[in-house]
């Protein structure tokens, strides 16, 4: 069930310097006979944004859940910096510096911002008491960077706006110094100003050498932010392309038809009005 092959203590191979940050090989997940992810290969390098696009049910979120430890794969291997990684729970993923911002944000609505940022990784004093003040101070630092207007540190996050909640979820990933970041529809619930803010954050993180998988329905977001684009269709990768080598229409055609741009016939393209 898990993707473990070797213990994580394997010495680094000599070829490591050029190894990709993440290399997922032949990942398979099925739910009762339905192949949600069907033999996918995908990789990600430092300071790179890979856009993951596809229709509903194409398998994008499931694939990313395998990487974040929220879903176990039936088969396949994950290599982190060239070494086989054993990821069978969210906690495992976090030890590899993998942080995920879920579409649902995965916030405990009844808790305040610091409690959510440190959810499952609370800071404690020497005697094991929660250090709420230290957590609040750290939360203020990280959120100040994301959204200087954020003030509501004591309120349950249920009372915050969509953008503020998003900021809390992103703040969690940034505080724990993600090396690999998965963002599942980070701007779907946001207004234009907040969307611009998230885009700026993504560009900043990329500058810092963090590798980002960006799942998005918004093809313009993806073209703006991604270096490469992987198109998924029915659990498979249709193609992975450099952003500069394709047009938005070609990517749209791949999403809808599930075929590489060159393979689609004129009739099919005409039918989807591209």
């Amino acid at each position: 069930m898990t993707v473990e092959i070797l213990p994580p203590s394997t010495p680094p191979s000599p070829a490591a310097p050029r190894a990709p940050l993440v290399d997922m090989r032949d990942i398979r997940v099925s739910f009762g006979g339905v192949h949600a992810v069907d033999g996918v290969n995908i990789d990600l390098h430092e300071g790179e944004v890979v856009g993951l696009v596809g229709g509903n049910g194409a398998g994008k979120s499931t694939l990313m859940k395998v990487l974040s430890g929220a879903q176990s794969a039936d088969a396949g291997e994950i290599h982190i910096r060239g070494e086989v990684a054993s990821i069978s729970s969210p906690r495992d993923a976090k030890t590899y510096g993998i942080e995920c911002i879920y579409q649902t944000l995965a916030l405990a609505d009844n808790l305040d911002c610091p409690a959510n940022i440190f959810l499952g990784r609370e800071l404690v004093s020497r005697v094991g008491s929660l250090d709420d003040d230290a957590m609040e101070a750290a939360s203020r630092t990280v959120l100040n960077r994301l959204n200087p207007n954020f003030k509501n540190f004591a309120a349950p996050v249920v009372s915050l706006s969509g953008g503020q909640r998003q900021a809390v979820a992103i703040g969690r990933a940034i505080h724990f110094e993600a090396k690999i970041l998965i963002m599942d529809e980070p701007t779907a619930a946001l207004g234009p100003a907040e969307t611009a803010q998230v885009r700026d954050v993504i560009k900043q993180l990329k500058e810092e050498g963090i590798g980002i998988f960006l799942i998005s329905h918004d093809i313009h977001d993806v073209f703006d932010l991604a270096d490469r684009i992987s198109v998924m269709y029915h659990g498979r990768i249709v193609d992975t392309v450099e952003k500069g080598s394709v047009t938005t229409d070609e990517v749209l055609a791949m999403i809808i038809l599930g075929k590489k741009a060159a393979e689609a016939s004129r009739e099919e393209l005409a039918e989807i009005q591209i």
């Binding site: 974040s68 929220a70 729970s89 969210p90 906690r91 976090k94 995920c100 879920y102 649902t104 944000l105 995965a106 916030l107 405990a108 609505d109 009844n110 808790l111 409690a115 959510n116 959810l119 499952g120 990784r121 609370e122 404690v124 094991g128 008491s129 929660l130 709420d132 003040d133 230290a134 609040e136 101070a137 009372s159």
Partner: protein, 445 residues
């Protein structure tokens, strides 16, 4: 004023109502500025109304040292279990088995004292260690049975409602495996002190000592919290609020000690005590202040420990996170199954403590011990602001809820309200309290 203007002016009663409404609207704002829990404040107000109301109706019969002392002892057993029920309900579970588990554990502890140590092991009655062995057996068994319940819920995936409904039947039935359900009495002399009563109390000096220690702890806690917040440059409570709040808390603690000491031993018992020690009885009778009863002391300790666990430990934070969003808790790397096992194990331990208090107070174990306690415990937690939607609830609130419930019962008893009518009224109060809470919460958004 012309006729038209007079018509535009709302009638006087509406203006008065408006002013009252405006005043009520401002209370939460002031409370928020002082960082006071609105719900806890509301409960204190409700409790004050209940107490004063009963006192007026009973011509001063309610707010007597004797009645308040009894009230404190009667609230202890339910209050102790209610602290655990908060965690159970906050984590979106329920425990219907607490009353039966209490009965089974109480019976087991009685068996240890009456059958196993004296007869089966032949060590005799009233050994100095008997009470401790009985208590430890009860606590360990309580933790074990609670953990098994938690395992079935967390790892077995059976809903807690069903598992604990089964537990309710199983534990009650198991009592009859001991001594065919005969009443077990009397209990060990030292163990009996856990139930309170004049001898099972701290007495004057120690009660004051406990009061002073708590008062000092309140001050130290306030000073340290302010200093820590300043260190990080956070906003601190306005000074007036800090002094008023902590002053009120200290006054309440010392006032409670004063009341407990104002209740003196019953005359006959004091006379017997004097005779045994050869103390001459002064004119007007021997006054021995009772002080804080042991069950109340236990409740106090349990409340402090459980509040600390719920608000200042990782385990407690995880419980609240699970209640707020189980999926988020899992994705955050929290081991939700293990947390559930711990919650129910803690509940089992608290049942054992309450079982000790109840059997000690009765000086016997009877088959009906703890019957329907689950309903009182759940009611106390819910009146105390614990939400069945999960993620919301406070431990001091639940203890206050237990005191509110007991105050109602004790007050109605004082007014000679019969037991079925008491049930009807408590039933209405429960539904109204929760309804009001839900309404206010919706209003607050």
């Amino acid at each position: 004023m012309t006729g038209a203007e007079a018509q535009l002016q709302p009638p006087a009663y509406q203006r008065v109502l408006g002013a009252i409404r405006e005043f009520l609207r401002r209370i939460p704002v002031a409370l928020r500025r002082a960082e006071i829990d609105t719900r806890l404040f509301g409960m204190l107000v409700a409790l004050a109304i209940i107490w004063v109301g009963f006192n007026v109706v009973s011509d001063g019969g309610f707010l007597t040292a004797r009645n308040l002392w009894n009230l404190s002892v009667q609230s202890a057993s339910i209050g102790i279990m209610a602290t655990g029920m908060v965690l159970v309900i906050v984590s979106r579970n329920i425990d219907l088995s607490v009353g039966s588990l209490l009965g089974f554990l109480g019976y087991t502890m009685a068996m240890v004292q009456i059958e196993w140590i004296p007869r089966a092991l032949g060590l005799g009655f009233d050994q100095p260690y008997t009470w401790l062995v009985a208590l430890v057996v009860g606590l360990v068994l309580g933790a074990t049975l609670g953990a098994i319940t938690g395992l079935i819920i967390g790892y077995g995936g059976v809903p807690s409602f069903i598992v604990t409904l089964g537990g309710l039947l199983v534990f009650r039935g198991l009592i009859f495996s001991y001594a065919q359900g005969q009443t077990m009495a009397p209990l060990d002399g030292i163990f009996r002190l856990l139930g309170g009563g004049p001898e099972g109390s701290l007495g004057e000096t120690l009660s004051w000592a406990v009061g002073v220690v708590i008062a000092v702890a309140i001050v130290i806690n306030a000073v340290r919290s302010r200093r820590r917040k300043r260190h990080y440059g956070f906003q601190v409570r306005p000074m007036w609020a800090e002094i008023a709040l902590n002053g009120f808390a200290i006054a309440a603690v010392l006032g409670a000690v004063w009341v407990a000491n104002a209740y003196s031993w019953p005359e006959a018992l004091a006379a017997q005590f004097a005779e045994e020690r050869g103390i001459p009885i002064p004119p007007g009778g021997l006054i021995i202040p009772t002080g804080i009863a042991y069950p109340v002391l236990i409740l106090l300790a349990v409340t402090i420990v459980m509040t600390y666990v719920a608000t200042r430990r990782r385990f407690g934070r995880n419980v609240y996170a699970m209640g707020g969003n189980p999926e988020a808790a899992r994705l955050g790397g929290i081991n939700t199954r293990k947390t559930i096992v711990t919650i129910f194990a803690v509940m089992g331990v608290l049942c054992a403590i309450s079982a000790a208090v109840q059997t000690a107070r009765l000086n016997a174990a009877v088959t009906g011990l703890g019957g329907q306690n689950e309903l009182d415990v759940i009611s106390a937690a819910v009146i105390g602001g614990t939400s069945f939607a999960g993620g919301i609830g406070s431990i001091p609130g639940a203890v206050l809820g237990a005191v509110v419930m007991q105050s109602l019962r004790s007050g109605m008893l004082l007014l000679n309200v019969d037991s079925p009518t008491q049930d009807i009224i408590v039933g209405f109060v429960l539904v109204i309290a929760v309804g009001l809470d839900a309404y206010l919460r919706r209003r607050a958004g």
